[in-house]
Every structure is written in structure tokens, then in C-alpha cells.
């Protein structure tokens, strides 16, 4: 008995216990729901059979119905545009801001901190805020564009099918940019000053220093930021709910929003699950990139 206790306390027994604890948590609260979601995607689940744990299997029927849906093509394109556009803009603006605050001027770190104010707000609040900004009749954005002479008449951002997706994207870029900036700032700060000094003495101008020192030294940070950006953008739900509700006519519906609509509006949980399964595959792939780039970080 005492031997068992001792091994539990000092030996590998205790280590094993800790691993089991962490693993069982992950299995119960992440693994099982994920698995159940995958199973549901092969079953017929409607509002009447919702209460039961097990439902009739229908094979790939849910998948076929999702892909043959007239909205599927629109949603795929929207998701691609929204994700790539958001990540690209968040990243470039975030990087530019990080470089800007990396210059030593009074209050630089302070101002950078203030930028985080946007990021810590709840998504729904940000959505409401942007609803006001984007409003067709009295929105500030239309007012500014009009006074600069860029547009003739008001753009109805949220109800114009040509603009609705970009309206949400604008809000999302604003929302996610500070996070990009902070991560990239940390990466910038980790590059020792003497590398820049050495490069400067070696004859590199500011542009060459950026391309040959800053960018390669930031490679792992950039990989992580882009991967996280894709993951977070694919999780973005609040802004859609608050600004366009996926409309008008599905013009701003993206995969994650469609999945929610199918499950909780149409109560077709099978098809909702299909979309989440497809998204899980994408996110898994992106996570792989993330893990790889953070691993490279520790090696350098």
C-alpha cells in the first residue's frame, strides 16, 4: 500500500495521474462532442428525434443535401472571401501598426495598449457599434465618404447584396486587428537590436533590413498569427448575427453562420453537423501549420 502511495507521489505514478486527468477532461468536454458531431452528420436528426441519444443512420445523405443546396456555392465563396480578406487585412494593418509602435516615441507602449480596447469588447457590442457606423441613412461611414466626394449617394451596407459581406468584413478587420498587432509586436520586440545594428553596418538600408532581418526572424510568429487569424475568423459568429444575419438573400452567409441556421433555425441538425465537420477538417489543417510554426519558434 505504502509502495503504491510512494509511487503515486514521487514516481511516474503521479505523472501518469496528471496526464490522465488532462486527457479525460479533453476527452469528455472536447473529444466526445466532436465525435458526436461527426456521428450526427451521418444521421437524420430532426426536432422530433432531438431528445434521443441515437438516431437513424442515413449514410452520406446529409452531405449530398448540403452540397446540392443552391446556397452551398454562395456560402463557400463567401467564406473564402471573408476569411482570406479578413486575415489579409488584419495581418497587414496589424503588422503596420506593430511596426509603427515599435518606433520609440513617447507613449508608444501606452497607445498600443489602448488599441486593445477594441479587441476586449464582446463581439455583439462591436456588431451593434458597427451597425450604427454602417447605417445607410445616418451612418458615419457614408457621411465621411460623401463629404470626401468618394460616393454620390448613400450605400446601404447591410441591405445591399453587393456590400453586406464586406460590411461584416470591415467590422471583423477592426475587431481582429489589435490581436494581430500585439502578437506581431511581441515578435518584433524579440529581435535583438544588435542584429539591426550589425545589418546597418553591413550596409543594409531600412528596406533591406526589413526584408532580410525582420521578416525572416518573424517567420514563426507570422505563421502563428496567420493560422490563428484563420481559426478566429472561421469562428466569427457574433458580428454576422448582429450586423446582417447572413442576409440579404444569403449574400453574407458564411459556413459557420449557415451551420447555425440549419441547426437552430431549420432544426436540421444533420446538415448543420455536416458543415461543422467540414470546418473541423479545415481548422485541423490550419492548426497543424500553427503547431509547426510555434515549434520552429522554440528551435531558433
Amino acid at each position: 500500500m505504502s509502495r503504491l502511495l510512494r509511487s503515486l507521489r514521487d514516481g511516474i505514478g503521479f505523472d501518469t495521474l496528471l496526464i490522465i486527468l488532462a486527457l479525460s477532461y479533453l476527452f469528455v468536454f472536447a473529444g466526445l462532442p466532436l465525435l458526436y458531431n461527426v456521428i450526427i452528420s451521418f444521421q437524420r436528426v430532426d426536432v422530433f428525434s432531438l431528445g434521443t441519444l441515437w438516431h437513424p443512420f442515413v449514410g452520406l445523405e446529409n452531405y449530398e443535401r448540403v452540397f446540392s443546396d443552391p446556397l452551398a456555392r454562395r456560402v463557400l465563396i463567401n467564406t473564402l472571401i471573408f476569411t482570406l480578406g479578413s486575415v489579409a487585412l488584419q495581418f497587414t494593418l496589424g503588422f503596420a501598426a506593430a511596426l509603427f509602435f515599435h518606433q520609440r516615441f513617447p507613449g508608444a507602449t501606452w497607445f498600443r495598449g489602448l488599441f486593445l480596447a477594441g479587441w476586449i469588447m464582446p463581439g455583439l457590442v462591436v456588431g451593434v457599434l458597427w451597425n450604427w457606423l454602417l447605417s445607410g441613412d445616418f451612418g458615419v461611414i457614408n457621411h465621411v465618404l460623401r463629404s470626401m466626394g468618394l460616393i454620390e449617394s448613400a450605400i446601404f451596407w447591410r441591405s445591399d447584396t453587393a456590400w453586406s459581406l464586406y460590411a461584416v468584413m470591415m467590422a471583423n478587420v477592426w475587431y481582429g486587428m489589435p490581436f494581430n498587432m500585439i502578437l506581431l509586436s511581441v515578435g518584433l520586440a524579440a529581435i535583438p537590436d544588435d542584429l539591426y545594428e550589425a545589418a546597418e553596418l553591413d550596409g543594409a538600408n531600412a528596406w533591406q533590413r526589413f526584408w532580410t532581418i525582420t521578416l525572416p526572424m518573424m517567420r514563426s510568429t507570422i505563421g502563428a498569427v496567420l493560422a490563428l487569424g484563420v481559426i478566429f475568423t472561421l469562428q466569427q459568429f457574433d458580428l454576422f448575427a448582429a450586423i446582417t444575419q447572413g442576409g440579404p438573400a444569403g449574400s453574407s452567409t458564411v459556413a459557420q453562420y449557415w451551420s447555425w441556421e440549419l441547426s437552430f433555425r431549420e432544426f436540421d441538425f444533420g446538415r448543420g453537423a455536416v458543415i461543422s465537420v467540414l470546418m473541423i477538417i479545415v481548422v485541423l489543417f490550419v492548426s497543424l501549420i500553427y503547431v509547426r510554426s510555434t515549434r520552429a519558434e522554440t528551435r531558433l
Partner: protein, 358 residues
């Protein structure tokens, strides 16, 4: 000989802090100059000002005849070896060496041929494909040097390059750096806080304190004729002993203000009854019988034997350190006599601390 680096009345202010004051220094082509001083003396600031990494607040700085006050570092054509080596972690040794050439758009084949050539000079042929993280401290040091010499710059700047190496390697690299300097006929400015490094490597030593050049000259000249008490105490190891004293009535001797009030003959004529500080180098003191003429007695408080030499510490205040032969048969508590040749006695004015030897 033309001056490769010419510094005239250079000033550097950081806000209210005056980091460099009236620095004037001329470095002829091919010379190895050491900037030495305690930490915070401004030696690194001076080196970084030469490099252009700090902008000077006043005076003129010329490199190869050209005024460079407002010239950015990349246009000065100087190479610098950093204390941290500052190797590019994302490039292998070959790319580290040839980075400057790549910026100058030298074709790749030419660049790599040059890297091979330099690698041979500094003994890195086998390591060209390694990354800095895969190198030892000494190897990194060599890459940093190689990166400097591959460019054939107007001058080399060294910022305490050996301070991160262990003692044995430091002694070895000291010789190598100097040999490399001689082989390529370069002009070098070398910052160190270690006076031994400065003395052994340099042709010309500049001693700085609090942003001011205290004295400059050939290493042995600084050792033999220190201009003031600070230089006297800084150059030489162990440091010079300082004893307060008064000059004698005849101005040809000094009376030490120790318990024994001993009188030492000196070889120069000074004003009588003047308060001075006498400087006695530990290695110049000879042990004799306590009652010898012209000697003063001390009691031995502690003995450190290193085998090759023997350090004796007196019990009196101020403490006197004596360096003698390792086999000196002395015991703790023993009273010994110390004498010194009159021409080896250093005299400093007690107020101004300037040497009275002029």
C-alpha cells in the same frame, strides 16, 4: 602616416548627461587602438559614435579624410564585431559571412568563393553550413570576425569581443585578433574594460573616465609614465599602491604617512613640505631586512601564493601589496623591509592627482 580616423573635440550628450567631453583622437592607418576604462566611462559610446550608431552632439569625426558626422552607419564602410557577436540566427555561417556582399549585389558564385577564402583564414571551413545556434562561443566569435574581414572595410571596430569567452580561450583569441590585424594591415579600434587586453594587443591605448580621455599613448608609456593617479591605478595588475606622503625639506625625498613615517629617496626635485600621493607598483617593491637604509618596514598580514609568484598584503593602513617571486620565504606576521629604486617612485599632487613627473 595619414589618419584613418580623426576625432576632434567630439561631444555627446544624453539629455543632461555629458557622455563624451572634448574627445580628440587621431588613429593612423594600420594602427590598433584600444579604448579602455571602467564601465560607464564612455568607451562604448565613443566606439558607437565612430560606427554611426550614435550621433555626436558636437565636434567633427573624419574617416579617411571625409567628415562623417551626419553619415549613416551603412555608408561609413566600417565593420564591427559586437560583444554578443550579433550573428544572424536565420542564416548559416556562409550567408552570415557574405551578407554584406549580398547587399552589394555581388554575384553568388563570387560571394561564396570569398566566403571559402575567409573561412580558411579564420579556420571555419568545416562549419560553413552550420547555423549560429549550432556553434560554440569561440566559433561564433570567429564568424563575427570573418563577417568583418570579408568586407575589407576602412576600419574594424571591436566592442568587448572577448568578454563572453572563457579565460583560456580569451588569451588565445587575444593573440589571434592581433595576428589577424597585422596580416590584413587593418585599422582597428578595440573597446575593452580589461587593461591586460588593452596592454597586450594595442599599439596605442586610450584611457577614458567619465567621458574624458585621461591619457593616451603606447602601452608601456602609460605603465611607466601615468599622467595621473587614475591612469596609474588603472594600468597594471595588481594595481599600484598609493600612500599619502609629504615631500621632505630638501625636495629630494618623501616621508610616508604611515605609522613608521619612513623616508624614501626620490630622483626628482620637488617643492618641499608639499602633500603628495606616492605610487608604488607592487612588482617594483623589493624585500630586504627591516633596518636597511632607505627601506620602510611593514608587517605581513596575508599571503597568496600562486606558485609562479607570491602576493603579500601588509597589515598597515593603507594596505601595501607586494608581488614577489613564488618561492619567497616569508611568514604571516613577519616584519619585512621594503625598498624601491628612486626612479620607480611615482608622485602625484594630492589635490589635482596629476603626476609630478610631468
Amino acid at each position: 602616416m595619414t589618419a584613418q580616423i580623426e576625432i576632434t573635440d567630439v561631444q555627446k550628450h544624453y539629455g543632461n548627461f555629458h557622455a563624451l567631453r572634448d574627445i580628440t583622437l587621431s588613429i593612423p592607418k594600420g594602427q590598433f587602438v584600444a579604448l579602455v576604462g571602467p564601465s560607464g566611462c564612455g568607451k562604448s559610446t565613443l566606439l558607437r559614435s565612430i560606427a554611426g550608431l550614435e550621433t555626436i552632439s558636437g565636434g567633427t569625426m573624419r574617416i579617411a579624410g571625409e567628415v562623417v558626422n551626419d553619415m549613416p552607419p551603412r555608408k561609413r564602410d566600417l565593420a564591427m564585431v559586437f560583444q554578443s557577436y550579433a550573428l544572424y540566427p536565420h542564416m548559416n555561417v556562409r550567408d552570415n559571412l557574405t551578407y554584406a556582399l549580398r547587399l552589394k549585389r555581388v554575384p553568388k558564385s563570387e560571394r561564396y568563393a570569398k566566403a571559402d577564402e575567409v573561412a580558411k583564414v579564420i579556420g571555419l571551413e568545416a562549419l560553413l553550413d552550420r547555423y549560429p545556434r549550432e556553434l560554440s562561443g569561440g566559433q561564433r566569435q570567429r564568424v563575427a570576425m570573418g563577417r568583418a574581414i570579408i568586407r575589407e572595410p576602412k576600419a574594424f571596430l571591436f566592442d568587448e569581443p572577448l568578454s563572453n569567452l572563457d579565460a583560456a580561450l580569451r588569451v588565445k583569441m587575444r593573440k589571434e585578433v592581433r595576428a589577424l590585424h597585422d596580416r590584413i594591415g587593418a585599422t582597428s579600434v578595440y573597446v575593452t574594460h580589461d587593461q591586460i587586453e588593452a596592454m597586450t594587443m594595442a599599439d596605442h591605448v586610450v584611457v577614458l573616465r567619465a567621458g574624458v580621455i585621461e591619457q593616451q599613448g603606447a602601452p608601456l608609456y602609460l605603465y611607466e609614465r601615468p599622467a595621473n593617479q587614475f591612469v596609474a591605478g588603472f594600468i597594471g595588475s595588481p594595481a599600484m599602491n598609493f600612500v599619502p606622503a609629504f615631500t621632505g625639506a630638501d625636495g629630494r625625498s618623501v616621508t610616508l604617512e604611515m605609522t613608521t613615517q619612513a623616508c624614501l629617496p626620490i630622483d626628482l626635485q620637488v617643492a618641499s613640505d608639499r602633500p603628495v600621493t606616492v605610487g608604488l607598483r607592487p612588482e617594483h617593491l623589493e624585500i630586504c631586512a627591516p633596518d636597511t637604509d632607505g627601506a620602510f618596514p611593514v608587517t605581513i598580514g596575508a599571503i597568496e601564493r600562486t606558485g609562479s609568484s607570491c602576493y603579500l598584503f601588509s597589515e598597515e593602513a593603507p594596505e601595501i601589496i607586494i608581488v614577489t617571486d613564488g618561492a619567497t620565504p616569508v611568514k604571516q606576521g613577519e616584519v619585512i623591509g621594503l625598498r624601491i629604486r628612486p626612479e620607480r617612485v611615482h608622485l602625484f599632487d594630492r589635490e589635482s592627482t596629476l603626476s609630478l613627473r610631468g
